[in-house]
Symmetry: C2
Subunit: 191 residues, 2 copies
């Protein structure tokens, strides 16, 4: 999903500026699954304007730079509807953290525990953040998307907590008690 389509979609809901689009992605539930930088958004908006898919009006503001508020055009709506009906590419989960854990056996045990603690704390912070977002949501789709983010992160966190001993066990028998190597998959679903 390219930045142009993302902008077009967000403008199909309401008139917005480039800055507002960026903030919406940064702070809103959608930001968990879609990202875009200013350096991508502003050129995308220019391009969409050239193609007649959006229009803008300039609003002068005291003490601030002019604000360009974009509106989607009829053709823009048609193009976006078309984009929504195209084949949807698969989800992509990218995690440098899991890559690092692949080499857990070679890491210093204290360092390993530290990054596990940190990651769990980060997940916790994100869960708290999204939980408050869900409360704000008045429409269904934002709540739905926030809920999915919550479900995924909660599962990831729970998995780390429940299974970290598999990686730490080897070098931590004395401090955490004896663990044989249990079969995986036991605590995967959380039920």
């Amino acid at each position: 999903m390219d930045v142009q389509t993302v902008c077009l979609g967000l403008l199909s809901e309401a008139d917005r500026s480039g800055y507002e689009i960026k903030k919406l992605l940064e702070d809103g539930p959608l930001g968990n699954f879609v990202e875009a930088s200013f350096g991508a958004i502003y050129p995308a908006l220019t391009r969409l304007t050239e193609d007649g898919l959006v229009e803008f009006r300039t609003e002068s503001q005291e003490g601030r730079p002019d604000k360009k508020t974009y509106s989607i055009t009829k053709r823009g709506r048609e193009v976006f509807a078309g984009a929504l009906s195209e084949t949807i590419s698969p989800d992509r989960f990218r995690s440098d953290f899991l890559f690092v854990l692949w080499f857990a056996e070679t890491l210093d045990p204290d360092y390993l525990s530290e990054i596990l603690d940190n990651r769990i704390a980060e997940y916790e912070a994100k869960i708290a953040r999204i939980t408050s977002e869900v409360g704000n949501a008045s429409r269904t789709p934002p709540a739905f998307v926030a809920g999915q983010a919550l479900a995924i992160i909660t599962a990831a966190k729970k998995y780390l907590e429940d299974n970290r001993h598999l990686l730490e066990g080897e070098s931590r028998r004395r401090t955490h008690g004896l663990h044989s190597m249990p079969k995986l998959g036991a605590t995967v679903t959380g039920e």
Copy 2:
């Protein structure tokens, strides 16, 4: 995590060719969180060789092109150890699917149900695939990484199944019975 570091890491485990690295990411558990194309891997390997972090020997094969098997050097190991101790960037979940669902209200109800069905089926297929991978894993880290992929995808699937009525409810009262709009978060964790 750039492709060079990924190659270096996989070569720290065993001698491998570019082709084998690609296959490992395509078929193995790590592929759920790390991707790299041939067009990225081959130049990365060339670059690593130039920098003295890996070496290769050419193995002639009957009927096939020569195979270049790469080995990590001592310096390569040092550099990789350094890479593993650097700050780990946050996980990134990208989903065009969730972006499309953001606009669920504007979609044709039948189309909406169709893409939900499809996505759930895809998740199911992936779950089956990973489950068989976990069985093959003899070492702990691959099983651990596969388990995390399983946990995440299972949670995502369950969330879709449990909450799709929130998006479908509006236009599907007759076929699926009456749904008031429930508060989100109820079936998020699966407990």
